[in-house]
Symmetry: C2
Subunit: 444 residues, 2 copies
């Protein structure tokens, strides 16, 4: 681990990046469209900040408008893997992004928007991209997944894992890490980036760790074994989700940014009049180690740190996670399976206790002995500025809401099975799935 | 079969429906929006005829606009099934629709738009609906699937099969048919409706028919057995589709109907200036046996009969179908797996032979002995007026386009597996899958 730290410090020095805030109107290469107010790049590529009109009849907040990032192109997030006698190794990159909280993070081998790899910004070619565009090795995972549906309009990336032989050249800034090392790094705050976490979640189960003593870890290892049972059969889970997706009554419509209500452009940024949710800010980035050496861009800066948690429970000796069928306005398919808890607690400070998200207090008040994972991790630093969530995995012996129509207990082998297909698990649930997986490596 | 015919004739008499054409501007309850030209129902429910702007850079036709039906609500298409000693039986309905070519068709137990079952039109309640909204029986299939992406904007319906006991009351117009009877009816022109076919396609394999002599039927039965191999593993198929969906460069944007180009409103309908594709027409319907006794509505009337075909081939004794990764502008997820051939041949009459769809001539010129299925079937008669396709299943010994990037040979057990999830197989491929399945019942 010390070794990995040294590598990181060395990269951090070499890829020093300075980020300064800039008023939105002073972003070179980005303009505000005269008729819509949308903020777009002059090339028409990258992404657009526009408005979204959301109607959600019958809910506590039954209509709102908001700014949202529209990035319709599908990028590639890819990890190269090799299997040696000592176990699988992943080719990871130490990569800095302007929104990162504290320098470079452990990133996938390739993290390329389509603008990026079609060279819209005329930068250097993306290393290792050909392994994913024209795989010669075995493809272990290849699935488009959504990203934050509160901030992105129908954004999705192609998550890939491709197996290669040993003869891949290791470029500057890249490094083979064992799966155990990556698992260990997931316990370090703000270190493994979101793109790496979502690809790790889509990695199928490789081999079977030996069962230890009959404890949490054994229940977790059993949970990832498809020969084990589960509280609900997969067809029952699919039918539950199909029903919710068919009947949820939400409608969303892209609108011009200058038609959103209760958001104002002040001080060079766009903020909600309550001071909550997020701001749209501008930044100028100067970097030594990126494809181009300087640029400006809009970013989303969330207000407050989120809490994202799975309640987990042993059922018949098999660990299950309590997933929530959650609506976010930017999802391609309306509803995805989300963590048990996913919120920014500060957004509820002004509301009565009854309005607090279900299970939030159960998670925050859990006895230390039942907290199996607790680390603050960063969201995508290319679009989000210092977006951080406290990720928790909390064990419980009780079902806190038996039969609640919006929640179901899933075994992890069911999560792994669903992750072969698009849009079942949201990006926060994928992070927690990767974090949970990392605990198979940890000593009990 | 005679018995079923008599039942149908009796229903046809009792549910006599007269349909007459009416200029679009004379549809009671439907109005043209002054600013957009969109045709909407005054209740805001049912569906809207609007415009779609399609950009498809690099293709022969790289941009067009068209009218399209927007029906965002998810309806239910459901079949009740019971399993008796003699095999499974399905509760089917003889149902007339204004667009039907020749009277009532064999329809699912329930065929309900959301407007329909929330009683927007204040009609009678939908019989058997509760079996699907709150299933007490075992749910054998429950998956949202797309419909025609050339005519519908992101339309999807929930396809369900629910198993019940023997004690379900059989209402007027309904009848238990054995699976073999339904299979036999699929060989009759215009008899089993589209909604029934798509639900039948989503039905999992029930039992295993005995293998007969080693011929086409044996290869088909093996093809539906998941223990059999396939030309490409399912992960390889998913990765192929993920790649195409991630890189296809199409963009679609809903636009006002009065902004579509090359379409004109003449003679009370909307037509393309070439006379090709389809018209938007108006109809007045007077019915004895429907939820309400009379109404008017816009419909799509296609020009010409389509050809929809699977080329099938035995690979290692297992029948495979050649599926095409096809873009249609109205799909929720850009690309779906479609039949080998799906086109209206007349649309190509004015073009050079090189512009004709791949494999169309191979299908139309196949020797009679290699044609395993050949029946004209109707598309959804609630929205489409006399929309008919000639569905063919043609066996070949050769791979006519080895390695073509847009085509893959799939075993039917792979198709069945993909049909547990949304948006993999398009509605035409689902019909062909049901037709192919029907051949397991036929004598060799």
């Amino acid at each position: 681990m010390l070794d990995v730290r040294n590598w990181f410090e060395e990269v951090a020095e070499r890829t020093a990046m300075t980020v300064e805030r800039l008023p939105l109107d002073e972003l070179g290469g980005w303009s505000r469209c005269a008729s819509t107010g949308n903020i777009r790049h002059d090339s028409g590529k990258f992404f657009t900040v526009q408005g979204l009109d959301v109607r959600f009849p019958g809910r506590a907040v039954d209509a709102w408008t908001q700014p949202i990032i529209n990035q319709p192109e599908v990028g590639i997030l890819g990890i190269l893997i090799r299997r040696l006698d000592g176990g699988p190794q992943l080719l990871m990159q130490a990569k800095n992004e302007p929104g990162n909280h504290d320098g470079p993070q452990v990133s996938p081998t390739v993290q390329a928007t389509r603008s990026n790899y079609t060279r819209v910004h005329k930068g250097r070619p993306v290393p290792y991209l050909e392994h994913f565009r024209n795989p010669s090795g075995r493809v272990l995972a290849d699935v488009r997944q959504s990203e934050q549906g509160a901030w992105f309009y129908r954004k999705r990336n192609r998550n890939m894992v491709v197996e290669v032989g040993e003869d891949v050249e290791v470029l500057d800034g890249f490094r083979w890490l064992t799966l155990e090392q990556v698992h260990g790094l997931l316990a370090v705050p703000d270190l493994v980036n979101m793109d790496a976490r979502t690809v790790l979640a889509c990695l199928p189960v490789l081999g079977r760790p030996a069962l230890g003593a009959d404890g949490f870890r054994a229940a977790l290892i059993r949970s990832r074994d498809p020969r084990q049972g589960a509280e609900h059969g997969i067809d029952e889970v699919l039918s539950w989700l199909s029903g919710i997706r068919s009947t949820v009554d939400i409608s969303t419509e892209p609108i011009p940014l200058n038609r959103i209500r209760h958001w104002h452009r002040t001080g060079g940024k766009i903020s909600h009049e309550s001071g909550r949710f997020f701001d749209i800010i501008g930044v100028r980035v100067v970097s030594a180690g990126r494809e181009v050496t300087g640029w400006t861009q809009p970013m989303i800066e969330p207000i407050g740190t989120g809490v994202v948690a799975f309640l987990v429970r042993r059922i018949g000796g098999v660990l299950h996670a309590l997933v929530h069928a959650r609506v976010e306005p930017g999802y391609t398919d309306v509803v995805e399976l989300a963590p048990t808890v996913q919120c920014v607690p500060a957004n509820y400070d002004h509301l009565p206790p009854a309005a607090r998200p279900l299970f939030l207090d159960a998670v925050l008040g859990a006895p230390p002995g039942r907290i199996r994972y607790d680390t603050v991790l960063s969201e995508e630093g290319g679009r989000f500025y210092h977006a951080r969530n406290r990720y928790l995995i909390v064990e419980t012996d009780e079902d806190p809401a038996p039969g609640h129509p919006d929640f179901r207990w899933l075994a992890m082998h069911q999560v792994v099975e669903l992750l072969r297909h698009s849009y079942y698990l949201n990006v926060q649930a994928r992070t927690l799935s990767a974090c949970l997986d990392s605990l198979t490596s940890a000593a009990e």
